[in-house]
Amino acid sequence: MTQTNDTGQDERLDRALQSLPRGVEPTRDLWPRIEARLERTAAEAPAQAPRRAWAWQAAAAVLLVAGTALLTATLVQRSRDASLAQSPPPAAVPGVRAMPAVFGPAHAPNPEYDAARQQLSAMLQQKMAQMPLSARQKLEANLAEMQRAAAEINAALDQQPGDPLLEELLLNTYHDELAMLAVVNQLTSTSDAGTPADATRMQL
């Protein structure tokens, strides 16, 4: 076989291989058996400290998917900052989505995300409660800053629906807010920093 024939055949073969579907669904649903083994895993190791460290990031991340600032809104409600009382947070009630109209129902969160969010927001609030009051307020005030920014952009979008600059700023604000919450979670997690008592040492 000449060199050219080899290359030609190789190329045809490569194309044929690349055209194969990478995904092949199993003929039956394997999830129930996997789920059963997950539960067994959880039963075997009830106290997994590293997993708890992710709780804050997870809660924040779930909210990102849900596209709502529920978490920050909850924190904002707790804060004693007077200026916040004047601008109502978009989502004051758990389960109510603060989706700007411009994104529409296509991007609305679905029940699985809500369930995961419920499961995790409780852990999140408990963590914040451990911090000294001044540190918690300072952090909440900063996180509320992002909440306020999202509200401002939403208000502007009501006036200028579909404005691409505003849409981009809004999307990025949601992303950034929750990325920030994820970072805060990681920084305040206890698995690396030592003991739970460290939370009470946080002075911002």
Binding site: Q9, D10, E11, L13, D14, A16, L17, Q18, S19, L20, P21, R22, G23, V24, E25, P26, T27, R28, L30, W31, R33, I34, E35, R37, L38, E39, T41, A42, Q48, P50, R51, R52, A53, W54, A55, Q57, A58, A59, A60, A61, V62, L63, L64, V65, H107, E112, Y113, A115, A116, Q119, L120, M123, P164, E167, E168, L171, N172, H175, A179, A182
Partner: protein
């Protein structure tokens, strides 16, 4: 501790895949958002963010989130396992093992890395850990064809016969060559990545790929003659 940014589009595969410039998908750089049409890129960014959210929720203990990840990735993981093992039941065992191991090791997963790639590595380990089955040396046992055929029934394929031939030909390859061909040729991993996943030397990987191509070429030719 590597801050690993490997995600989709990580470099050139060992076969001639069309490549696009590397982008830190899932990382903190959002250049494509700035440079392309806002609509589709916002969707892409959202998709990436959603996956990240699911991974983090699952790592914190949410089986609901993990199930969503399972639904998103099971087809690819199963496709990889099925083609590597060439046996339906073994492939299903590998899929289960993959997701259980993934669940156990989620806290150690660096969210910035590619979740799909990480899953694939676990899947390859699961495949390698399978004990050799008696019938493997006999090649295709018929079960692979059934599954592929069922898949093809749904797919909009121009030449299902040809595709079935390739899958059967892959399944009939000897084990080492088949593993390399599936990872390199079908899933686009580079020689470095493939050899690392399989625990073999890069030279061995290249030799196996060459062998696989020759065998595949020969088997496809005879399959065409038969049709």
């Amino acid at each position: 501790m590597r801050l690993n940014f490997a995600g989709a589009g990580a470099g050139q595969g060992c076969v001639a895949f069309p490549t696009s410039p590397p982008s830190r998908v899932g990382g903190t750089t959002r250049w494509t958002l700035a440079e392309a049409q806002a609509g589709s890129e916002i969707d892409r960014a959202r998709e990436v963010a959603e996956e990240r959210a699911l991974v983090e929720a699952a790592a914190a203990g949410s089986t609901a989130a993990f199930e969503k990840l399972y639904r998103r990735h099971v087809a690819r993981v199963h496709g990889l396992c099925l083609r590597m093992t060439a046996q339906r039941e073994t492939a299903e065992d590998c899929v289960q093992e993959t997701f259980v191991q993934a669940w156990r090791n989620l806290p150690r997963f660096e969210v910035r890395s590619g979740f799909a790639t990480w899953l694939h590595r676990i899947a390859v380990n699961a495949v390698l850990a399978q004990k050799r089955r008696r019938f493997e040396s006999l090649g295709v046992d018929g079960s692979v064809d059934d599954v592929i055929a069922e898949t093809l029934a749904d797919a909009n394929v121009s030449d299902p016969g040809a595709r079935r031939d390739i899958e059967a030909a892959i399944a009939s390859l000897p084990r080492g060559a088949r593993h390399v061909l599936v990872l390199c040729g079908v899933y686009g991993y580079s020689h470095d990545e493939t050899s690392a996943m399989l625990g073999i030397a890069v030279g061995t990987c290249k030799a196996q790929l060459h062998r696989a191509r020759q065998l595949l070429g020969a088997r496809l030719e005879s399959a065409e003659e038969d049709r």
